[in-house]
Symmetry: C2
Subunit: 284 residues, 2 copies
């Protein structure tokens, strides 16, 4: 039996069984490995960290996308940073109001390999006429983008090591603020509160974002194949509060079927455990 | 390096590092193993399944106890079924209103070993004058208990295999209904929605309980060392709705410091993902 094993902390590891490795490649940016198994279907890792698998990708992609649209159902222009598997763009493209989606993914190989091995997330994305695929550094892209040109930015990044590092910096968040219009929302991959290393990244990201955006919240979801299963997104905005401005009835009218997200869960997701709230408020 | 490994499904396993095994024993009921490590402190398993560790026991014990008390702050008589580590009783005993706590734990060795190796959960429980410790089968205990004799029953059990099996039966839930008074609340360990085997147990338990109690809800929490980290409790009641009847301000007056639970999270915990709601409603 073959096991893919990920170290979640010095004292904790997580393993998934696979039948065969489909592909392995070192790109200029990172190591990409694709595996095929039974329960988790096809999955891939970047630098040895689980990114996407067929069993629970719906959770991550529901939660990065729908809370912003239920807060502002009028979103038309979306920038996805990272998200090379295509799943985030797939969810965004389900909204008929959306006119334009730019996806800035630094590593084209991730997207091409997902087109080949993981159609559940990548299929149809490139073909959508609203899509602009750009294989370039997300930080460079936002630096060059005009002011107030997006309603929504979704930062679908790896952890703040190697290729994802620039997407956890104050410089990056400031550029995001600038390119968002006055109703703009920033959703960012916000790490996790449980294991010390991830919790540090969570705290750092929150400190940086709350210095820039007037409205900053963090919401949680259950993502079993990510370290500890307790994972977060940040919701930062210039105008909208994700709870007070939730437009549940309007969102229902889109008629989107979602396996994880619903508007009650939207409200619940922002109610964090006390130890997480305390960590986010801390200034260490 | 020593690793304790638990199979979460055929294709998924979870491992914790430990420095030494403190104790191993086969009782008439189950195999008990105690380990000592760095990150997770002391932990123990029953029949090879993680029960309690020092890193995240606070999550489980907060969530099994406080939602019921925030819904009915007047709870005076409590029955804990199982809960041999003492952590559930420890939390219940923090409420000054509580007059009597019966703990019916089938396996005295679990409690005695926790007194020795896991004082964080067991210390002080036996000494509290409100406590009645009974080392007997929980199902037999409720069968013999008088009608309407408790305000709250907390079923702090293992999975429905071997020793925990009787605590997932219609016969048991019916006896719970009978021994609860007309304001009674039943909280039960309700398994998990993610891995197939656990999801089956979740569905079965819910079907049985909703045939007996007029008000039945399920709430979720993040428990990283249990399979998938997405874990549930059932909240069944004769009179109280955990959302409509939440008495947040009254609960705050107790002044209890809690690392996981808070009354916003209370509300959020009942907002389940769509796939979980669907599974709970299904009649298969």
């Amino acid at each position: 039996m073959n096991w893919y094993t990920e170290q979640w902390s010095d004292d904790c590891k997580f393993s998934l069984r696979y039948n065969k490795e489909l592909h392995s490649e070192q790109t200029p940016f990172q190591k990409i490995d694709f595996y095929e198994g039974e329960e988790f279907g096809t999955f891939f890792t970047l630098d040895g960290l689980m990114m996407v698998n067929e069993k629970d990708e719906f959770i991550y992609h529901d939660m990065i996308t729908h809370p912003a649209f239920a807060t502002n159902p009028d979103i038309k222009k979306v920038l996805v940073i990272g998200g090379g598997d295509g799943g985030t763009a797939r969810e965004v493209l389900r909204y008929p109001n959306v006119e334009k989606v730019v996806m800035a993914e630094i590593d084209e190989r991730v997207f091409r390999l997902c087109q080949e091995y993981l159609p559940v997330t990548a299929k149809g994305v490139e073909e959508d006429p609203r899509m602009e695929l750009r294989f370039e550094d997300g930080l460079a892209y936002v630096k060059n983008a005009p002011d107030a040109s997006f309603d929504l930015i979704l930062v679908d990044s790896t952890d703040p090591i190697s290729v994802g590092e620039g997407l956890f910096t104050t410089a990056f968040y400031k550029e995001c603020f600038r390119v968002l219009n006055d109703k703009g929302i920033l959703i960012n991959q916000h790490e996790s509160p449980y294991f010390a290393e991830y919790a540090e990244n969570m705290k750092k990201a929150h400190r940086k974002i709350r210095d820039i955006f007037p409205i900053t919240n963090v919401y949680q979801y259950h993502m079993p194949t990510y370290p500890s299963g307790h994972w977060l997104f940040g919701f930062a905005s210039k105008a909208f509060d994700p709870l007070k401005d939730l437009k549940a009835a309007e969102w229902e009218k889109f008629g989107l079927e979602t396996k994880y997200y619903n508007t009650d869960l939207h409200k619940g997701a922002f109610a964090l455990p006390s130890y997480v709230k305390e960590a986010l408020l801390s200034d260490e």
